[in-house]
């Protein structure tokens, strides 16, 4: 399995001396192509910090974060921006779609920022919308879409142009259970097609779509879960 994300003793702290706050203690972790990783833990345990480091939104105070072969800590701002536009896609709980742009235009933004032609960006946006089951809704504005549809547009935007690493921070937080499940099926399909996704969530039913669930506590990885072999379903009637 190709490693797409690697944390090698990566740590993040803020401030110095006795006011120093450590958000993430030195942490080592690898995530491979095809793998869906869920990160669980209470508020303040370092989940979002970990995701920000992988997404190139923040740099480690110590250790290394390697994303698709690139050491994030050593990248210049311009190179980081390119990493975010071409390799890593982000999906948040708050959808952050631009209300004045159609679904298709929202999805095309990362490619247009990356200097692609409008025609090329548009074609890739259509393909991404199709992959999340929204081929026919490209001309709609976000306000005319349901919460679940908006989140699928956000996923299409995160994946557009073939980005392989999807980072999702509570992507199902505002959705009802069936809609949340359809979002999880999309993340699962992305990974089954050779992509990688890291999902931060407090929702166990959604974390359970992952191949591996890691638990953070007070900035430390404390445990890891893998699917149980063949669970017994209800086998006897009362």
């Amino acid at each position: 399995m190709t490693t797409l994300v690697e944390l090698d003793g990566a740590a993040r702290w803020f401030g110095a001396g006795h006011t120093q706050v450590t958000a993430l203690h030195p942490t080592s972790l690898t995530v491979g192509a095809g793998e869906l990783l869920a990160v669980m833990g209470p508020s303040g345990s370092g989940k979002t910090t970990l995701l920000s480091l992988v997404g190139g939104l923040d740099k480690p105070s110590a250790g290394r974060v390697v994303v698709d072969g690139q050491d994030v800590g050593s990248l210049k701002p311009r190179e980081l921006a390119i990493l975010r536009r071409r390799t890593v896609g982000y999906v948040f709980q708050d959808l952050n779609l631009l209300a004045g742009l159609t679904a298709r235009e929202n999805v095309a933004i990362p490619l247009e920022l990356d200097g692609r032609s409008i025609g090329e960006a548009r074609a890739a946006a259509n393909a991404a919308l199709e992959s999340v089951g929204l081929a026919s809704l490209g001309d709609r504005f976000p306000d005319d879409l349901s919460g679940g549809e908006q989140q699928r547009v956000a996923i299409a935007r995160a994946l557009v142009g073939g980005r392989r690493i999807l980072l999702a921070d509570e992507p199902t937080g505002a959705l009802d259970s069936m809609t949340g499940e359809s979002v999880m099926r999309l993340l699962r399909a992305h990974c089954d097609n050779g992509g990688t996704a890291i999902l931060v969530t407090h929702d166990a039913a959604h974390a359970a779509w992952a191949d591996r669930v890691v638990f953070l506590r007070d900035g430390r990885l404390v445990d890891e879960a893998h699917p149980a072999p063949n669970p017994e379903l209800a086998t006897t009637a009362p």
């Binding site: 958000a23 508020s43 979002t48 669930v213 379903l233 209800a234």
Partner: protein, 189 residues
């Protein structure tokens, strides 16, 4: 209880015999709720004794061949069952709840570690259910998916309860550690 009403519901659709009832019951309940044929016959005998089903044709035939149909009284009791919610008379005594309560009281048990071991085991169970769900066909396997949803939501509720126990114990510990006037500060992360 549910086997009794399950058989009544099946007989309400069409008369049937024991073995058919067994396979239909298992199919309806998601293909994973096995009942043995002996249980089916005992239940039918009780239903017959109570006048809720009656056997068709000669009573000389063997158990396997004998067909049964629902009576008007059986139909009425089935309707009452569907119309009334299922309310547990008393919360079930649950080993995990008791274990956590005793661990908290014991004082020398690492409750946080106990909760995490349980959380990991429950998530692993949830992952396994979810894998089955991912493979199921949403149109063809409706009964199986509804059964899986029941198991998934029950396990999820257990994990939420573990998280709540954990948070309660942590807030007790931090209240004990902090001076009474200091405000608590938490960063989200």
């Amino acid at each position: 209880m549910s086997v009794r009403y399950g058989l009544l519901a099946l007989l309400d659709e069409a008369p049937s015999h024991g073995y058919n009832l067994k396979t239909a019951f298992e199919r309806r309940t998601g293909g994973s709720w096995a009942i043995n044929i002996g249980q089916v016959y005992t239940t039918i005998q009780r239903l017959e004794r109570d006048g809720l089903v009656e056997s068709l044709g000669s009573s000389a035939g063997d158990d396997e061949r004998r067909e049964y149909r629902i009576t008007p009284a059986g139909r009425a009791q089935l309707a009452t069952w569907f119309e009334n919610p299922v309310v547990a008379e008393a919360p079930a005594r649950d080993e995990l709840t008791i274990k956590v309560l005793l661990a908290v009281a014991a004082g020398d048990v690492d409750v946080t570690a106990l909760l995490q071991r349980q959380r990991r085991a429950s998530i692993e169970q949830l992952q396994a259910y979810t894998r089955r769900k991912a493979k199921a066909d949403p149109k063809r396997d409706v009964a199986f998916l509804i059964l899986l949803d029941a198991l998934i939501f029950r396990t999820e509720a257990e994990i939420r309860w573990l998280d709540a126990c954990d948070a309660r114990i942590r807030s007790l510990a931090s209240a004990a550690a902090a001076p009474p006037t200091a405000g608590s500060k938490e960063t989200d992360g």
